[in-house]
């Protein structure tokens, strides 16, 4: 099959960037989307042109490194699927496909389709953990955890930190990402002692980093490849108010 790609090319953070069109033929519907970019990059390299830079690593939908906006949608048209798991059989022969990076102020473009997501690490750094120094733990069975709580905590903990929620949000908010961690840890008995400070500190850092506020548009949960539910944000708001965060 054949596709016409319009790809965002940007030499570096200071460059303005532009869309560049590439005709790519001789593709197989069994290729993954990123394998299609591999094929294009091989052809570019042989012509002496610089290949398109894009982030990717595990190619199994779990590391969270891949990050493309495809035809205006983070991770492309297939629901609950990361870019690396998207295959060309989801596209029509001859289709025009736009490929852009995540766009949000706290995620500056490094080059082409690669953005800097270290802001996410800073949000976790602010409180997305349980303080349990190595060696200090009681027996794993000392504190039973009701199965429904454990299951819901797991559901929130599935977040892969890719940033699609931010790319999808009209406000550039990272509230779904933040709420997923607040929910995961806040549902577990081990997470209770730091529950208040966690939510307050993480939200403050989120705001300081320049992420926008949440207005419950729900775009984030639709774009989320792991289907993190929107009610995690309600939970965050609940915890935040309870913690007296509105100082």
């Amino acid at each position: 099959m054949k596709l016409t790609l319009r790809v965002w090319r940007q030499k570096g953070p200071e460059d303005k960037g532009r869309m560049v069109t590439y005709e790519v033929d001789d593709l197989s519907p069994d290729m993954s989307f990123l394998e299609m970019l591999d094929v294009l990059n091989e052809r570019l390299a042989l012509k002496g042109e610089e290949p398109i830079a894009f982030d990717h690593d595990c190619r199994e939908g779990i590391c969270g490194m891949c990050s493309l906006v495809i035809n205006g949608t983070p991770h492309g048209p297939e629901r609950a699927t990361t870019t690396c798991q998207l295959h060309l059989r989801k596209f029509k022969d001859g289709e025009v496909v736009d490929i852009e990076p995540w766009r949000a102020r706290p995620f500056p473009v490094i080059k082409d389709l690669v953005v800097d997501r270290s802001a996410f690490d800073k949000i976790i750094e602010a409180g997305g953990y349980i303080s349990a120094p190595t060696g200090s733990a009681p027996d794993a069975h000392a504190v039973p955890v009701p199965k429904p709580d454990a299951d819901r905590a797991f559901e929130a903990a599935e977040c892969i930190g890719c940033g699609a929620c931010v790319a999808a949000c009209p406000n550039g908010s990272a509230m779904l990402f933040t709420a997923a961690k607040v929910t995961h840890l806040g549902l577990l008995p081990q997470g209770q002692p730091e529950r208040d400070s966690r939510v307050v500190d993480m939200v403050a850092t989120h705001d300081d980093l320049g992420f926008g506020g949440c207005t419950n548009t729900g775009e984030c949960t639709v774009a989320c490849p792991k289907g993190i539910p929107l009610d995690t944000i309600a939970r965050l708001n609940h915890d935040y108010l309870k913690a007296g965060g509105k100082r």
Binding site: S28, D57, C63, T81, Q85, P133, T134, A150, A157, H184
Partner: protein, 647 residues
Amino acid sequence: MHIDESFYGSGEPIADTKAPAGPIEERWSERKFAVKLVNPANKRKKTVIIVGTGLAGGSAGATLAELGYKVVQFCYQDSPRRAHSIAAQGGINAAKNYRNDGDSVHRLFYDTVKGGDFRSRESNVHRLAEISRQIIDQCVAQGVPFAREYGGLLDNRSFGGAQVSRTFYARGQTGQQLLLGAYQALMRQVDAGNVELHPRHEMLDLIMEDGRARGVVVRNLVTGEVRSHTADAVVLATGGYGNVYFLSTNAMGSNVTAAWRAHRRGALFANPCYTQIHPTCIPVSGDHQSKLTLMSESLRNDGRVWVPVKAGDDRRPADIPEDERDYYLERIYPAFGNLVPRDIASRAAKNVCDEGRGVGPGGLGVYLDFAGAIERLGRDAVAAKYGNLFEMYERITGENPYEQPMRIYPAVHYTMGGLWVDYDLESTVPGLFVIGEANFSDHGANRLGASALMQGLADGYFVLPQTIGDYLARNPVGAVPAETVTAAEAEVQERIERLLSIDGDRTVDSFHRELGAIMWEYCGMERTEEGLRKALELIPALREEFWRRVRVPGSGDDLNQSLEKAGRVADFFELAELMCVDALHRTESCGGHFRAESQDEDGEAARDDANFSYVGAWEWTGPGERPILHKEDLAFEYVTPSQRSYK
């Protein structure tokens, strides 16, 4: 036995000098008591460099920082949370015996030594089994959401043919949840100012001073800047080298460069030929294939593996009647059936495909059929157990496994070999410690399912933080002279410029694919003397061509993914040669290393304990030069070596 010494030389034997003698269950306690301690006030004056942020590196970084050391840590990914440990699916073993089914530290120790085909070190494995219990406690305290039962206690499952249920899991995402636990602990220390973190940095050389590891040269992958960092000790937690095969279940960026650069600086590389080929991966769909995806081994609990009886039978699976199907694992191994260990299942799949009975494109696949399970348990029950895996399969192949059997084929998954370490996890370079998959220590010639996560976290949370203290207390060091640092940086810079200046007519990937095909063909599931000799002719020729014809576009001054790959592939060439030499010299079959010349009358692997009960640790002598073999003899005091049988 026939060993051809034209490929390598023989050196002095080596020994693990740090493991105490005495009863095995007291050795770790004794070692911990014997270590010299670093005064709390002095800890913050000691800097430790850690390369890698997976389960081993992440847990080590967090723990060393909690102890008060200053940690400087690097990873090539954009965040420590993305290290490839994240992709581990199945679970983590621990000898908790919560099921009251007869598990114990001794049984886990025994199973691991036996599963490793008697090619691992008893002292290390016993320590691993002891520590396994603490790991679960630690992870639960951090908030790892393991699967639980309705009473609120942790659930367990049996995994990889183990006869007890000792595997803790978090759906099919255990690696992810454990890594996030370690990552969060690490980020807490970053926030506290105890860890200086450098993501998007790749280690390109080890800095040596006075015979000791004193630092690393790294390249900032965003700006291209090459600079060095010095410390009191260096820890490598850089994972395995499965990507030497090009196609593997490893992440695209997984590479051997850090370990290989250390090897070139004097660290011995042990058992490089021990690779694990996982039997249940999604087959290759075409020449464009960039990596392979694992389907959890748990599928073999309910799926039945088969191929057509007749070679070349290309009917749709549903049209092949029952009596024209060969459920070959059940036929050959009636006792274990579809649950035989990984190496055996993989080789059996290769054999039936070699007979022309493989299915799917290129005939490189076998069926994993759930029709019987769906009939017996109902579609809903099968979906509850394997739903997410079935979805993943459908996403990748476009085929619905509820309606037609899955197609699977073996793929490179894990490497048991790695840098040689002693009981303290210190390599043969003083001050260089190696943890996790990057070392060779605990799995012998074959790793059991759900044991990789256990080893990574045991090394990082509990072993290294104790043993490295002993080294730091006994070896105070001064500053590294500026000329040493400058020279190391210059060497790295020179190599980068050399790669960029070749300006040939072949891409890095085309070389990597060709190297991978050679390795898969001759140093894959089945190895022969003839094939390995062939590989040892092909690889140096291809390596030479690489340095003449590779084309690396772009510059070294910014993000250049082609340049990153080129450096890694260059190191894979040198590793590939060593793997083939190791595989050639080990004329026995053991674990993941099957030599066609060494099999019994039934075609099963025949180990040769009389001649090969040792760790083969190799010394670097120069590019294209004969490596030197150092042997560490293995003594079995507690588990008597026996031939594995699954019939």
